[in-house]
Amino acid sequence: MVEPLPLVRDVLDKQIYDANDVRVGKVDGVVLLPRQGRPPRVLAIEISMPTAWRRVSTRLGDWIERLQQRLAPDLAGPTRIRFEHVVHTGIDVNVDIDGTKTNAYVWENWIKKTFVEKLPGGKGSGEKGE
């Protein structure tokens, strides 16, 4: 019988690599769906700054979420990858989807456009996901 997968040891906080072996982010959260009379379903892994900070302090996580909504309301929202897309776990988590097709890089690109490109020499490296 196949050994069960330890979600905390082998999934939470691990680096995610997409189908092209590119880093997407770290697993900040694992989402479960409790069901009546059946085992809770593992829905998705989540990449999200508020989710990560909520583990330190709920108030801090909520504050980060509000800050994100204030800075760029159209970008706010966690990146979720359905657990069915996870193909390997352990030291890293591999998923069978293209990271650029998710919203995992939106904040990185927002920081680049808003701040980094305005610095001398900050232009020309291209966007992730392009």
């Binding site: 997968l5 040891r9 409790p34």
Partner: protein, 103 residues
């Protein structure tokens, strides 16, 4: 993928003290183990206590754990009520949980 109201999170449960029906602390919830069922993954077991923590941290402890009582339990998904993630409770007497094998 949209958020659903009744979702809960592994990190919400992690480290929570699990109590039995009498309110006695059995141990902290240290690991959730999932199995594939068709296309879906389901949480089938919860690991509690110090042995579970050492296992999670991948520390080989050669059976040594401080104290005399069993230091880790493995519970089936239906043996713990997680409807209130901040206060998980056993749904069965402690004796029905399996004691974690020491390594």
């Amino acid at each position: 993928m949209a958020k659903r109201a009744n979702e809960l999170r592994v990190e919400q449960l992690l480290g929570r003290r699990v109590r039995d029906a009498a309110g006695t602390v059995v141990g902290r919830l240290e690991e959730l183990r999932a199995r594939r069922n068709g296309d879906a993954w389901e949480v089938t077991e919860f690991d509690l206590g110090r042995t579970a923590l050492l296992e999670r941290l991948a520390i080989r402890h050669f059976g040594w754990v401080p104290g005399n009582r069993p230091a880790g339990y493995r519970a089936r998904w239906d043996q713990i009520d997680i409807s209130d993630p901040a206060h998980p409770r056993l749904t069965v007497p402690l004796e029905e949980l399996s004691v974690m094998r020491r390594r």
